[in-house]
């Protein structure tokens, strides 16, 4: 080997290493998110373009995989390094946990100027504020207790959309007769949890949900109602296709879109995939509340938490927060993403039927007090408890735990994670 | 004044003292051979002279300059290694020129020097080859060339012939000798082979367990070994060591051999002092000092004739070695090649006492 060549090469390489990663744009925001799926990325592009119009460059930091777990690793690394991104997509209790670490920016002035207090639902403000101060700009409100049905399959079965669990099971049986997968599901803990929380709400009603999931009442977690929930989960499990394990949610949605599966229990982000496939609500697919959960909303809101990044980036950060709460953006974003605006003062004119329904349901639930945080998405419990509960739910669904064992394990797991 | 002085060199590695105070002087142009069995410390001493292994105490002086603390490259020495240590990635030419290059000699001068050395060693045709393409003998020459080109104050050789086959070894040995005679270089040479030591050296140092046993010319070492170890180590077949006792015989001292009062030989002339009667001694006789009576040098003054049983006959072509046995002890004699003797026969051996030496079994030292 020619040593002289190597030494020149090494010197060159060292120079590359030194110069790379220097240069920073002056007015820019760096955004960490895990919206890499097609519908999500398209929705986010709206925000990117809006900001670019204001002269703020967008530094994208997408970290996909594992429902944001890789993103959380990256975030920890950046915050620990003392160099956090400008804004980070975060959910529920994670916002509080991070704020508790004293790394959040204060958005009070902007919020006061733009009157966020009046237009953002109180249940959501609990999470967008820490210690009474605004720390995050909520982008949207999702709800998780939706059922998406392929219209053609439903028509073929000659059924009306189900309104309770029994009708739901009957519909799945019909789908089975058609030779399609009755219900498309992805066997990933958060998806298992999303289905479970809908079943809890359907079988136990909103009060039971509050008692069991929000208040973690040990008796509710192991009582007869909960037994019925787990039994129902086992029943639904028999309608899955054999390949469900580990499947991404959007692939399950695609199965329903293509008519390979009849229905999917999934949050309203699922609609983004339908729209991207040029399908129309009402004609190609039906969106209903998960049977038996009408009148309640399990919510989950994407928020951009603003991190304390110092004065030089402060202006861009506030511009971004303001852009997020801009009603125009709220409409543009949420019509694509499938969610509803985080502001209640936005007109539903531009939204499709599902969107309109979602906004109506939300307003109703907010007034009735049945707008409750979703467990699977971190709006019901902190991460430790959430994950401990998901462990039990997913192990039960996969047949590793019997129903009785799950009922015993659930309160234990919660207690151990507290 | 001596050119190379080794002053009280000691070396301890861990708790083991490998060199226990070595003192040697060598004149300019001398050929010093360090000889001894493996583990005697000869290589350690050579490494200390080279500067590759710092001694624990003592000094190395070359040409009046204390070099003990100097880096090997600043001692102006050259070394030929047992494995030759040719740089595998360089051609023969580059190998020989490397030391000059390190010393900043310009290219033209280097080439001239390499050419000169290659000519001396007759390796001109090998210059462009790499070490892996050379035979053992060729590598050996290149290794010497690498040392010669430097024209150092002292050459160090670390068992340079041990990797060669027997025939080549004799040839190269002769070449080294010729080289020394032509260049008058000062050489320190390590070997465990006593024939190499005898043929090459102007001065031999016999080492054992980190101490000097004897320093002397080859003939001193051979003929007047300082102790039993040296006597046994130098020479092949080894010197006969015959147990005996001092007795008085007709007013003169004599030695009774083989524990037999009747087998008596005169006290060898090498012993000048008077010994007490009954003292146990060891009589050392080289095999060539025990012969058949016909081979005896007529000039010899003191001879004893002893008849013994023949237990083995080993013809080598030039000589025949005959093993004699008497009263349970055996000795080797060097006789004429055409001697008529066969195993089991009684044979008269002539003991040449002029060449005999006497040792004290208690101190193992030679008695003069």
């Amino acid at each position: 080997m020619n040593i002289r060549m190597i030494s020149k090469f090494a010197a060159g390489a060292a120079i590359i290493a030194l110069t790379a990663g220097a240069a920073k744009a002056q007015e820019s925001v760096e955004v960490l998110h895990w919206w890499t799926s097609g519908g999500e990325a398209a929705a986010l592009n709206v925000l990117k373009e809006n900001l670019q119009k204001e002269g703020v460059a967008w530094k994208d930091m997408p970290v996909a995989g594992g429902a944001g777990s890789a993103a959380m690793t990256a975030l920890r690394a950046r915050v620990t390094a003392g160099d956090p991104p400008t804004a980070v997509q975060l959910l529920g209790f994670d916002l509080r946990d991070w704020a508790e670490m004293g790394v959040a920016a204060n958005l009070d002035d902007l919020a006061a100027k733009e009157g966020w207090d009046k237009v953002i639902p109180a249940a959501l403000q609990d999470f967008s504020k820490y210690d009474g101060h605004w720390i995050a700009a909520p982008v949207n409100i999702h709800s998780t207790n939706w059922l998406w049905i392929n219209k053609a399959a439903l028509d073929k079965a000659g059924l009306q959309p189900p309104t309770n669990i029994d009708e739901f099971i009957a519909m799945l049986d019909k789908f089975k007769e058609q030779g399609i997968t009755p219900i498309a599901h992805g066997g990933v803990p958060w998806q298992d949890g999303t289905m479970w929380e809908a079943v809890v709400l359907s079988i136990g009603g909103p009060d039971f949900y509050k008692k069991a999931v929000l208040d973690l009442d040990p008796e509710a977690l192991s009582g007869d109602t909960m037994k019925k929930v787990f039994d129902t989960m086992s029943k639904i499990r028999t309608y899955f296709d054999p390949n469900f394990s580990g499947r991404e949610w959007n692939l399950s949605t695609a199965m329903v879109i293509e008519g390979k599966a009849g229905a999917q229990e999934m949050g309203d982000w699922s609609k983004g995939e339908w729209l991207r496939a040029n399908k129309k609500p009402g004609t190609d697919f039906v969106c209903i509340r998960f049977p038996g959960t009408q009148g309640s909303v399990l919510f989950n809101a994407d928020q951009f938490m603003m991190f304390d990044v110092g004065d030089d980036q402060r202006d861009a950060q506030l511009k971004m927060a303001s852009a997020v709460e801009d009603p125009g953006f709220q409409i543009a974003f949420n019509t694509v993403k499938g969610s509803v605006p985080a502001r209640t003062d936005v007109s539903d004119e531009k939204f499709d039927d599902c969107g309109k329904k979602g906004m109506k349901d939300l307003a109703e639930a907010a007034s009735k007090g049945t707008m409750m945080g979703s467990l699977a998405h971190g709006y019901a419990q902190p991460a430790a408890i959430k994950e401990a509960m998901l462990d039990v739910i997913t192990q039960h669904l996969n047949g590793q735990l019997t129903t009785d064992a799950a009922l015993k394990r659930l309160p234990e797991a919660v207690a151990a994670a507290k | 004044m001596s050119f190379l002085e080794i002053k009280d060199i000691r070396k301890k590695i861990g708790n083991v003292e490998i060199l226990k105070g070595i003192n040697i002087d060598l004149e300019k142009g001398g050929f010093l051979v360090l000889v001894g069995p493996s583990g005697c410390g000869k290589s350690t001493l050579l490494n200390a002279i080279a500067g590759l292994l710092p001694p624990s105490s003592g000094d190395i002086v070359i040409d009046g300059q204390v070099v003990t603390d100097l880096h090997p490259s600043k001692r102006d020495i050259a070394m030929v290694f047992q494995s030759y240590a040719l740089y595998p990635n360089m051609t023969v030419e580059e190998n020989i020129a490397f030391a000059l290059e390190m010393r900043g000699v310009d290219k033209a001068a280097r080439e001239a020097a390499v050419k000169q050395v290659a000519k001396t060693l007759q390796i001109e045709h090998l210059l462009k080859r790499r070490p892996s393409q050379l035979s053992g003998g060729q590598r050996q020459r290149v290794a010497m060339g690498r040392a010669l080109v430097r024209q150092p104050r002292v050459f160090l050789f670390d068992e340079p012939l041990s990797n060669l086959d027997a025939k080549l070894r004799v040839e190269v040995r002769a070449e080294i000798k010729a080289l020394h005679q032509n260049t008058h270089a000062t050489i320190v040479y390590v070997t465990h082979d006593q024939i190499e030591a005898m043929t090459l050296a102007t001065k031999i140092v016999v080492l054992k367990e980190g101490t000097v046993q004897q320093v002397g010319t080859p003939s001193e070492i051979y003929n007047r070994p300082a102790n039993l170890f040296v006597a046994d180590f130098m020479g092949s077949p080894a010197m006969n060591m015959l147990k005996g006792r001092v007795v008085s015989s007709g007013g003169a001292q004599a030695i009774a051999l083989f524990g037999n009062e009747n087998v008596k030989v005169a006290m060898p002339p090498s012993v000048t002092k008077s010994l007490a009667d009954g003292k146990e001694i060891i009589l050392g006789l080289r095999p060539e000092a025990i012969t058949d009576t016909g081979l005896l040098d007529p000039q010899v003054r003191s001879v004893a004739q002893i008849v013994a049983d023949v237990s083995m006959v080993e013809p080598t072509g030039s000589d025949t070695f005959v093993t004699g046995k008497l009263d349970g002890a055996s000795f080797t004699a060097r006789t004429r090649a055409d001697v008529h003797v066969s195993v089991g026969q009684k044979f008269p051996f002539a003991f040449n006492l002029d060449k005999a030496v006497v040792f004290d079994p208690e101190t193992t030292g030679r008695i003069d």
Binding site: G187, F244, G246, P382, A384, D391, N398 | -
Partner: protein
């Protein structure tokens, strides 16, 4: 009157140690020092830090409030942790055992003066070149009952063929073993091949003259001579088994349920997604203790053996 002049004693000129000499003597240590310092800080410092963290109340980010053995109590009361340990035992034994057996087998075949060695060698080696981030999708497909091998067999007419380990919680860990063996056995093969090539041919000739059959030569002479390679392979594989992470995440994500949880995935999820950093650190300390138990005796014997 004459006076006898004393003969001047000429003291040999002594060349003392200069600063340059001192520098030269220290140079090797100076060269090694940065690497060693870096290792001290970035490995041993971080280990100490992790140990400390396991005794704190850290959840989302490191905090330095003392929490005693709480994290360890939590760790050992997690059913997940026991699953992870049990899986590591199953995975470790099978992964190391099969890799060594298969690697040795292929190496012996490859050592029979095979013509196409130059083609075959990279085929067995290439899996080591690829990360599971790259091959994960292909593997998931391959093992997926609806898309992969089972589907292919059905296409070929073997309708009753079942291969649903990936989605079967009882069998999923074995799919992880399959993929792991696929990745590492070629590397082990290369190690054994190198070992076989390094054996002195005269020993084999001597055995042949002694009348040993081929099988006997391998069983009695060659394989025992490969002992150091077995040891190296074991160490390499053991540390890969303990560190296996990409493999599990790409194939099963730890599922179905928690059926393929390993200590490495456990540690990652508790530290980074479950906001129980102290428990994650405690599990890291446990893993480090496990690694130490394997490596330190090995290092000790290796480094002592070479002393002469």
């Amino acid at each position: 009157m004459t006076t006898i002049e004393p003969v001047p004693v000429v003291e040999p000129q002594r060349q003392g140690r200069t600063f340059a000499d001192g520098l030269r003597n220290a140079l090797p240590k100076i060269v090694l020092a940065p690497s060693f310092a870096v290792i001290l800080v970035f490995v041993y410092g971080f280990i100490l830090w992790t140990v400390y963290l396991s005794f704190t109340t850290s959840r989302i980010l490191p905090v330095y409030k003392w929490g005693g053995f709480d994290a360890y109590f939590r760790l050992w009361s997690q059913p997940n942790w026991y699953v992870a340990m049990q899986n590591l035992a199953i995975f470790g034994v099978l992964y190391i055992g099969i890799c060594i057996a298969l690697g040795l087998f292929i190496a012996i075949l490859m050592d029979q003066r095979i013509r196409a060695e130059g083609v075959l060698r990279p085929i067995f080696l290439y899996p080591m070149a690829l990360s599971f981030v790259v091959t994960g999708t292909a593997w998931k497909w391959f093992l997926n009952p609806g898309l992969g091998l089972e589907n292919t067999m059905h296409h070929l007419g073997w309708e009753s063929f079942r291969f649903d380990w990936l989605v079967n919680p009882k069998m999923a860990i074995y799919t992880v073993v399959i993929a792991g063996v696929w990745q590492a056995s070629g590397f082990v093969m290369a190690m054994f091949l190198a070992g076989l090539r390094g054996i002195d041919g005269e020993i084999v000739k001597a055995a042949q003259i002694d009348g040993a059959s081929n099988v006997a030569i391998y069983r009695r002479i060659i394989i025992p001579l490969l002992r150091p390679v077995f040891l190296s392979a074991f160490i390499v594989l053991a540390h890969m088994a303990i560190k296996s992470y990409d493999l599990v995440i790409a194939l099963t994500g730890g599922g179905p349920g928690n059926a393929t949880e390993l200590p490495s995935t456990f540690m990652y999820s508790y530290t980074f997604t479950r906001n129980q950093m102290n428990v994650g650190s405690a599990s890291a300390v446990m893993m480090l203790m496990g690694i130490t138990a394997i490596i330190v005796p090995y290092l000790y014997s290796e480094l002592r053996e070479k002393k002469q």
